[in-house]
């Protein structure tokens, strides 16, 4: 079952640490502050607890969202590099 982890963290150092934690749990970065990957329930709780410890008392908003396999497959993606404007 894919999990989506998204966050808003103003503090640069904490934000970097949280991103590293997501990578340590084998998640893939899909946006600057969004990660996705397969996590069992134990690892989900563990990851969120570790993120909580990293944040400490600073401002942060972190969400872990569970996505059903089927729904994840049906996502629609637009992704492109900058294209030159044709005159």
């Amino acid at each position: 079952m894919p999990c989506l982890v998204i966050y808003d963290i103003p503090d640069d150092r904490v934000r970097t640490k949280v991103a590293e934690l997501c990578l340590d749990y084998g998640l893939d970065r899909i946006q600057y502050s969004a990660f996705v990957g397969q996590l069992g329930s134990l690892h989900r709780r563990e990851l969120m607890a570790r993120i909580q410890r990293k944040i400490g008392r600073r401002a942060a908003k972190v969400q872990l969202i569970y996505v059903a396999e089927e729904d994840w497959r049906q996502r629609i993606v637009i992704e492109q590099e900058e294209k030159g404007i044709q005159a």
Binding site: E20, L21, L23, D24, Y25, G26, L27, D28, G37, Q38, H43
Partner: protein, 343 residues
Amino acid sequence: MPIIQHLIIDEFGTFIHKHEGRLQVERLKTGEMLVQAPLMHLEQVLIASNGVSISADAVRACAEAGIPIHFISGSGTPYASIVSMGLVGTVQTRRAQMLAYYDSRGLHLARAFAIGKIENQTRLIRYAAKNRREKDPELYHELQLLAGEILDHRADVEKAAGSCVDEARFELLSAEGRAAQKYWTAIQLLLRDQMDWPGRRTQGATDPFNMALNYGYGVLYGQVERAIWLAGLDPYAGFLHVDRPGKPSLVLDLIEEFRASVVDRTILSILNRGTSIEFDENKRLAQSTRRLIAERVLERLESPERYEGKRHKLGSILQMQARHLATYLRGEREEYTPYLASW
């Protein structure tokens, strides 16, 4: 990122280091990151090339997480492993292991390893014969006959008697050797259409099939050694194989019951699918072939098989066998039975 359980590094000029909770593999020249593996999912690291370096931090992280690092040469010969110090301090188990050599437990184990080998060789030949029943009935019968002859040697193993393994070793090894001769004759017949195979050679083999087998055994060897370490046993104190300084005879003992079903079967299936075994300019196995063999052998260990009435991954069965070995030695188990492949 994919879940990496077995990190195989087989590229020259690479560097393994730790970053946060992951191992990262980089090309030294360009600094390009080839792969990153979270320690969380990692079970072992297999370094299968020269020109690879690893940082002390990476070694330490692996040791702390109980992840062994194995080094194997280009021909598949394991030459070193790095394991945590914590795995060596298992005195009770080791003491039992050393003492068992001098009593009936050692003989019981040596017999079990030899029986496991002979049984699984027989089963692999019967399995291969079944696949040829329609296409080549003559070959099918020939193989079935040979399988029966291999199995005949099981009785010789069971008859080997003595008060300890030393007194019975000669009989055990000669029964096992005679069974092996017939087994490789059967393999020769199986390969008849693909190649004119000269028969089994261990060291200094120059033909593709033997070299592939040797490489595959090298990969399996690391897995068996790991299982033995994790069970708290000493890899150097075996029963069936004579101890010599620097010879990990317990690894060689336990590997016997897995060779046919893990490696031989895998290499045969690579050949049967028409994949050819490639060489490099030095007449050694090409990197692509080595990678293919390592991956297929490790994949085979991921595949489920029947064991004690349930289905388990072959790799877990290997680990459980090593644990059974330890519990038998400590007297917490009545007997040790080898793993028998069920096809």
